[in-house]
């Protein structure tokens, strides 16, 4: 049974890219949302195995959403997928408890490697 992925990104293009790269793998995108608030609400109903989280989004940003998500669901797996990738944001994501950080733009292999690593401690 494929593992369920929820994509949180305000960009339709990024959502499409992630869906396309994950198609035909052991992972399936089951939900997409465009901001942190929606992600928190949708997590409850979707119960994904992994959440990919952008940072720059309207409203609540991805780091704040990841923090709140992991406070409410300590077993949630969050993988940051963002262009805003430097020491400050990468360290903050690590401190929050994110399982990894994929820098945009990325290749399919990079994404799959990061997703596999995020599940490695299962």
């Amino acid at each position: 049974m494929p593992k369920k992925i929820m994509v949180v990104d305000d960009s339709r293009i990024a959502q499409l890219q992630l869906q396309e790269m994950l198609s035909g793998t052991d992972y399936q995108v089951v939900a997409c949302c465009q901001n942190g608030e929606d992600a928190l609400a949708m997590y409850e109903t979707t119960q994904p195995d992994l959440v990919t989280m952008d940072i720059v989004m309207p409203g609540m940003d991805g780091l704040q959403a990841a923090r709140l998500l992991l406070q409410a669901h300590a077993d949630a797996r969050v993988l940051m997928v963002s262009s805003l990738a430097y020491d400050d944001t990468v360290n903050e994501a690590k401190d929050i408890g994110a399982k990894g950080f994929v820098y945009k733009p990325f290749e399919r292999e990079q994404l799959l490697q990061a997703v596999e690593t995020a599940f490695a401690d299962q």
């Binding site: 305000d10 960009s11 339709r12 293009i13 990024a14 499409l16 720059v56 989004m57 309207p58 940003d61 963002s82 262009s83 805003l84 990738a85 430097y86 020491d87 400050d88 944001t89 945009k104 733009p105």
Partner: protein
């Protein structure tokens, strides 16, 4: 190298790298002017130092960008807007990371906005960089970075 030159290098490297990686388009620095059919994508870098970042791009080049990213010849105006906005979002992330490397100052940026036409910041700041590029056959792009004083109204731009 002065800080002004370092900022210029970050902008140039980010523009060339991201355009190649994101859309497979090789840009060359060039002073060829933009056409009449131009769109603007813009945002504001927030942090200790604020700056408006804008991209002026020929529509023909934005169409090529969308075609390459979506891997299809037929693209809608919504596709063009969405691809241009995500491309600029990725570009701004790279620029923010570059600025962090040279100044160790963390910065975030607002969600980029797309507008048909050519706009410039209302800021009167003299601290600005304008980098112009040309793609072999699809037109030109111009990346503009303008320093903003801390109290200036956010993301205020006007047509030019």
């Amino acid at each position: 190298m002065s800080i002004h030159q370092e900022v210029h290098c970050v902008l140039d490297r980010s523009m060339q790298d991201i355009t190649k990686c994101f859309a497979g388009i090789q840009l060359m620095k060039d002073d060829v002017g933009l056409s009449e059919n131009v769109c603007t994508v813009h945002t504001v870098l927030e942090g200790e130092h604020r700056a408006a970042l804008l991209l002026h791009a020929d529509m023909a080049l934005l169409v090529r960008l969308a075609q390459n990213v979506m891997k299809q010849e037929t693209v809608t105006s919504q596709d063009i807007e969405d691809v241009a906005t995500e491309y600029f979002n990725v570009l701004c992330g790279r620029v923010a990371a570059g600025f962090f490397q040279i100044a160790h100052i963390p910065s975030r940026f607002q969600t980029p906005r797309f507008r048909p036409g050519k706009f410039i910041p209302e800021s009167k700041s003299s601290c600005r960089h304008i980098l112009t590029y040309n793609s072999e056959k699809d037109g030109s792009m111009q990346l503009i970075c303008v320093g903003l004083p801390p109290n200036e109204e956010k993301n205020s731009i006007m047509p030019c």
